[in-house]
């Protein structure tokens, strides 16, 4: 057998099942690689596997820091939760443990998942394995970098406005945001509850299907979880016969790196060769996605993060009376971006501004969701580049929050509409990975994975360069 870590997660599971590889050998190989990680992708690495057997046969799983894992640090990348060990495990992590995926480690992330570069982590930035001077994307940057570097076979991330898809694109791996409600949010340290969804970051489309299939559940602890789609089939299709891909004409391509556009156009041609037709579709309000998102997400965040008050868990900074304890704790515990979003959200919800900001944004959200519904009457999937640029340099956008927010331009509309979307590696631009995004109607994950698989085979991206 070749090196253990050369196998995809699905191949490793098969090898263990067939007795060609021991689950212990598999875990040890990844534990050693994760412990030797030089990208700052990990905040914790497990010593021993906590489960074995099951359908996933002991293939270890890297988990974003914000998932609660009982007795294991879960800090959401924040100083305010430094050293926090929760008393319970998130439902989705529990589902995967029951399926036989032991916890390999906890991965670095932007603080409270707020960011597109992983530079907002209280525990330092993560380096992109394609170019160590560049960001891995965010907020699931540690998970993406770990999978791309081959120190994890696969990883869990969360996506609120692009936080799985954008780092997947920048690290040359696959990232899928499921339909809102497909996966339980119980035990995910909340950012924006109406948008947050957990999803897989993997080396290929098959692994994404395999992992997602074991994530989905209806959970009594999350009233928004639905337990659909019922079954995620492993993708097999090599053709796109009869598939209609919608190319939105209302999303601006200004600010999109030329190499990213070229890769996108190239893949549309490949799709035609596979039997697909490319049609123009209209998403007249998607261009306002960023504006609506940066009202709704911070508003929900300002409410969710009110719980960090120094009373029940986490950091406490005393300042005399009770009120000073709250304000000092939050001053010392939150980083700059989190403070910015709490301020933005509190402002948008404050008396006199609620209707102008939050109320309007919620209506724009309706328009964007309706745009997609109408588009899907004529096309099967909407396709875009995943992110406007390839990975930028660490520090390059640090002083320009708005420019950083615009990184989510192509991913935010799907989040607002609650629909599933995948990013697959789409070749290189200037030596750095680009991503191709496919989005479909609610609960169309199996069809998306099938189409993504056909494209993946045709694109033939080789991600082995960064796995050592």
């Amino acid at each position: 057998m070749t090196q253990v870590r050369d196998l995809t997660a699905a191949q490793a599971a098969d090898a263990v099942r067939d007795g060609k590889l021991s689950a212990t050998e598999l875990f040890d190989a990844y534990r050693d690689a994760a412990a030797a990680d030089e990208l700052n992708a990990y905040l914790y690495v497990a010593e021993e596997p906590n489960v074995s057997g099951g359908d996933l046969h002991g293939v270890p799983l890297a988990v974003k820091d914000l998932f609660c894992t009982k007795g294991v640090i879960s800090q959401s990348g924040s100083k305010i939760l430094e050293g926090y060990k929760p008393p319970y495990t998130a439902t989705v992590v529990e589902n995967l443990e029951k399926a036989g995926a032991p916890l390999l480690g906890k991965t670095n992330q932007d603080e409270f998942a707020m960011g597109s570069s992983n530079e907002n982590s209280a525990f330092g930035p993560v380096q992109n394995p394609w170019d160590r001077e560049r960001v891995p994307g965010g907020s699931s940057g540690g998970s993406a970098a770990a999978v791309a570097a081959g120190t994890a076979p696969w990883a869990l991330g969360t996506d609120t406005g692009g936080s799985i898809r954008q780092p997947a694109a920048m690290c040359g791996i696959v990232g899928l945001k499921p339909t809102y409600g497909a996966v339980s949010r119980f035990g995910m340290i909340a950012f924006a509850s109406s948008l947050d969804q957990a999803g897989p970051l993997t080396r290929d489309v098959t692994d994404a299907a395999l992992l997602l299939g074991h994530m989905v559940s209806k959970d009594p602890c999350d009233a928004t979880s639905i337990g659909r789609p019922d079954e995620i089939a492993l993708p097999r299709s090599h053709k796109l016969d009869g598939i209609r891909l919608g190319r939105p004409d209302d999303l601006s391509t200004e600010g999109v790196e030329p190499g990213v556009m070229e890769a996108y156009e190239r893949t549309l041609k490949l799709a035609e060769d596979l039997g697909a037709t490319i049609e123009t579709c209209h998403l007249p309000h998607a261009d306002h996605g960023i504006s609506a998102y940066y009202v709704i997400a911070p508003a929900e965040a300002s409410s969710n993060l009110a719980r960090f008050d120094g009373v029940r868990y986490g950091l406490r900074s005393n300042g005399g009376d009770l009120l000073s304890m709250y304000t000092h704790t939050r001053h010392d515990g939150f980083g700059a971006e989190v403070k910015r979003r709490i301020m933005l959200g509190t402002y948008a919800l404050s008396s006199g501004y609620y209707d102008a900001y939050y109320g309007r944004a919620q209506r724009v959200r309706t328009l964007i969701a309706t745009d997609f519904k109408q588009a899907f009457e004529n096309v099967d999937f909407v396709v875009t580049p995943t992110a406007p640029t390839t990975a930028f340099k660490i520090g390059e956008l640090a002083d320009d929050p708005l420019a950083m927010y615009l990184n989510d331009y192509f991913t935010v509309p799907m989040s607002l509409a609650g629909i599933p979307a995948i990013s697959i590696p789409n070749g290189l631009s200037d030596g750095r990975p680009t991503g191709f995004q496919l989005a479909g109607p609610a609960f169309s994950e199996s069809r998306i994975l099938d189409a993504a698989y056909a494209l993946e085979q045709a694109i033939g991206f080789d991600g082995s360069e960064t796995r050592k």
């Binding site: 639905i226 609506a292 986490g314 009376d321 403070k339 404050s350 900001y357 209506r363 509409a417």
Partner: protein
């Protein structure tokens, strides 16, 4: 646009202490972000209902049956300060 007074007001609402430097930066950065966001003011939203939940779910109620909750000692494990079986906090009134 947001001015210094508004920044201080919002920080009070958010229970967030800001340094002098942070107040300055927040005023500039939030103004720039709000200018961008205000583009949604151009849209005609007459008669458009707001979305608070994207996937249609009805009757997401569970049976109203008591279940065991987190044991008290487990809930206290991460607390910065406990006393008399409760979370201890500083007095609401500053001591002299």
């Amino acid at each position: 646009m947001i001015d210094r007074e508004q920044v201080l007001h919002v920080a009070r609402l958010a229970r967030l202490e800001l340094s002098e430097d942070e107040v300055g930066r927040m005023t500039t950065e939030l103004s720039k972000i709000l200018d961008h966001i205000e583009k949604i003011g151009e849209l005609d939203l007459e008669g458009v209902p707001p979305t608070s939940h994207v996937v249609e779910v009805t009757g997401a109620l569970r049976a109203d049956v008591p279940r065991p909750s987190l044991p008290r000692e487990v809930a206290f494990e991460n607390a910065p300060d406990i006393a008399d079986d409760g979370f201890r906090v500083p007095s609401p009134q500053a001591h002299a």
